[in-house]
Amino acid sequence: MGTATGIIRALNSGIKHLATKRFTLRYPEEKLKFVGDGYQFDPSTGVGIAGLKGRHLLFHDKCTGCQLCSIACEGVAEAIGMVKVPEEHKHNKKAIMPQIDYGKCVFCGLCVDACPFYALYMTNDYELSSFSKEGLIYTPAQLQVKPYVAQDSEIIITDRGATHG
């Protein structure tokens, strides 16, 4: 009667799961919380700081226009191009800054690793959709804006199962 006990055990397991909590994350009412503020890189130690690889954040008061991020990306996705900006900085005589095309970016973070001036970080923002392909190209002025994120949901493990809450 191995067949019968196997069938009854399977049905039993099914009934037990009717009492387990649902695991679904109800996006967009709930959004996941991430560790820290986003992926950053410390050129003095040569090690990165853990965080989500989302949209980039460019600090205009640190970027010198050295093009290292663009050169790094040419081997991966060719998503960074340098453009002229109308601002005048002492440390950026050529007045060029990176512009990132999120249609091509693969979010690997090697550009952040390449920057020696602490100017390019990645943030927790991943909701980057747009209605047109041109809308995905973020200019340096757009990259300067710190994103507003309202994320506070994480996995909670209880006796009756794990949920997102």
């Binding site: 397991s13 009717l18 649902r22 109800r26």
Partner: protein, 437 residues
């Protein structure tokens, strides 16, 4: 929501308004005029208090409420009501719709996810309405080389056969659409229609995947019909009659499942196979054939087939309840209706509160017995449907040769064992017309 609303133009607004008015008028005319004709000529007008009820008289009930209840009572006793609403199509369709929704939510809960939850304010309860509206609005595509008359007729025949099956199930004492003396034999005859309709639909689509699916459905349904019929013979032997209402009435002390558990299990397994439910859903959703014999059906034809399928599910569950679980019998939980009080009216000071037609309605048509019977029938059917839905979450699909082996050798063997148990119980005098009742 990525749809940008178009700008407002007065001409398109007026056009949409006129379009809606046109369609509403058209539908009213197309449905209203036949309805009026039916009422005037086809339905026998009931006689109430010695007067023939014409439509004009019916409208005068608005002025005198004491005449509405006799009209409603007369209507409840007609055949049309039984076919369309209570134990017939309306009731079955309501239970079928509830089953589809409950199935999706229950499957989702077993799989630790949510299921439908956007339609309707409370956890997606209007999802079925959304699905129905979607299916009505889709174009019905007929393959070019299909056999058109049969292809169009097949889903309608499917729903008709399922509705015929629903018509034979008794819900409460005296409440059955077709009280046939050979009720169980009629059930077998109607069940025999389903493989034919499936293979007609699959063949007429003239395409590869429906062909394979239809042949598999034919294998499955035909090879499980014999164990189905044999497993029910035990109950017939013990009851001595083929009338479904009598079989249900004979279980007033104990249900037959106590004495014939083997037959109940065999009937349950063959029921799952006839309904094409997991683990026996080879004809439908295989990862080899795209959707089986339903592949070429689109739009409302698919909707009709799903409706027929779930009506069949309700009918099979109802049959299981009537034959093995005691039908409508159960302890009396409905409180007895205070007929005396209603007859004489409640005295509140100088006025007597009395609704004149209510007492005969409650004592003849909607009796306490009928409410109690319906309640127990629905509860038991819901329980059986729960156990039909549950294997869908926990079992994989069975393979074709395992299916044939199961149907032709193992289940027939078990069904014969059941018949021998029934014959043994009968001739030992334990049950049946001579012994315990």
């Amino acid at each position: 929501m990525s749809v940008i609303a178009p700008d407002f133009k007065l001409s398109s607004f007026i056009k949409s308004l006129l379009d809606n008015i046109f369609w509403i008028l058209l539908l009213l005319v197309l449905i209203g005029i036949p309805l009026v004709f039916m009422v005037l000529f086809v339905i026998p007008l009931p006689v109430i208090d010695g007067e023939l009820l014409t439509p004009f008289l019916a409208l005068s009930w608005i002025a005198d409420p004491s005449r509405t209840l006799p009209i409603i009572q007369a209507f409840l006793e007609t055949d049309i009501f039984r076919v369309m609403a209570f134990p017939g199509f309306g009731f079955a369709a309501l239970l079928a719709a509830g089953t589809i929704f409950a199935e999706r939510k229950m499957m989702a809960k077993i799989q630790l996810r949510v299921g439908p939850f956007y339609c309707g304010k409370f956890e997606g309860i209007l999802q079925l309405m959304g699905d129905g509206l979607k299916l009505i609005s889709k174009e019905i595509i007929i393959p070019a080389k299909a056999d058109k008359p049969i292809f169009w007729a097949a889903p309608v025949m499917f729903v008709a056969a399922a509705a015929a099956f629903v018509a034979l199930i008794p819900v409460a004492p005296g409440w059955v659409v077709a009280d046939v003396d050979l009720g169980l034999l009629a059930v077998f005859a109607v069940i025999g229609f389903f493989p034919i309709i499936t293979i007609l639909s699959a063949w007429s689509a003239n395409s590869k995947y429906p062909f394979i699916g239809g042949i598999r459905a034919l294998f499955q349904m035909v090879s499980f019909e014999i164990p189905l019929i044999l497993s029910l013979l035990g109950v017939v032997i013990l009851t001595g009659s083929l009338n479904l209402s009598e079989i249900a009435a004979s279980q007033s002390n104990f249900p037959w499942i106590i004495f014939l558990p083997v037959g109940a299990i065999v009937f349950f397994i063959t029921m799952l196979a006839e309904l094409e439910r997991i683990p026996f859903d080879l004809p439908e959703a295989e990862s080899e054939i795209v959707a089986g014999w339903l592949t070429e059906l689109s739009g409302m034809m698919y909707g009709l087939v799903q409706l027929g399928s779930y009506l069949k599910l309700y009918a099979f569950a109802g049959l299981f309840v009537v034959l093995f679980l005691g039908g409508w019998n159960g302890p009396m939980v409905v409180p007895s209706l205070p007929l005396e009080l209603i007859e004489n009216g409640i005295e509140m000071g100088p006025i007597t509160l009395k609704i004149s037609g209510l007492a005969p309605l409650l004592s003849e048509v909607i009796t306490q017995e009928m409410l109690n019977g319906t309640l127990w029938f629905v509860l038991k059917t819901v329980g059986v449907i729960f156990f039909i839905i549950l294997p869908r979450g926990v079992f994989p699909r069975i393979r074709v040769d395992m299916l044939l082996d199961l149907g032709w050798s193992k289940l027939i063997g078990l069904a014969f064992v059941n018949i021998f148990i029934a014959l043994g119980l009968l001739y030992a005098g334990v049950l049946g017309p001579g012994g315990l009742q």
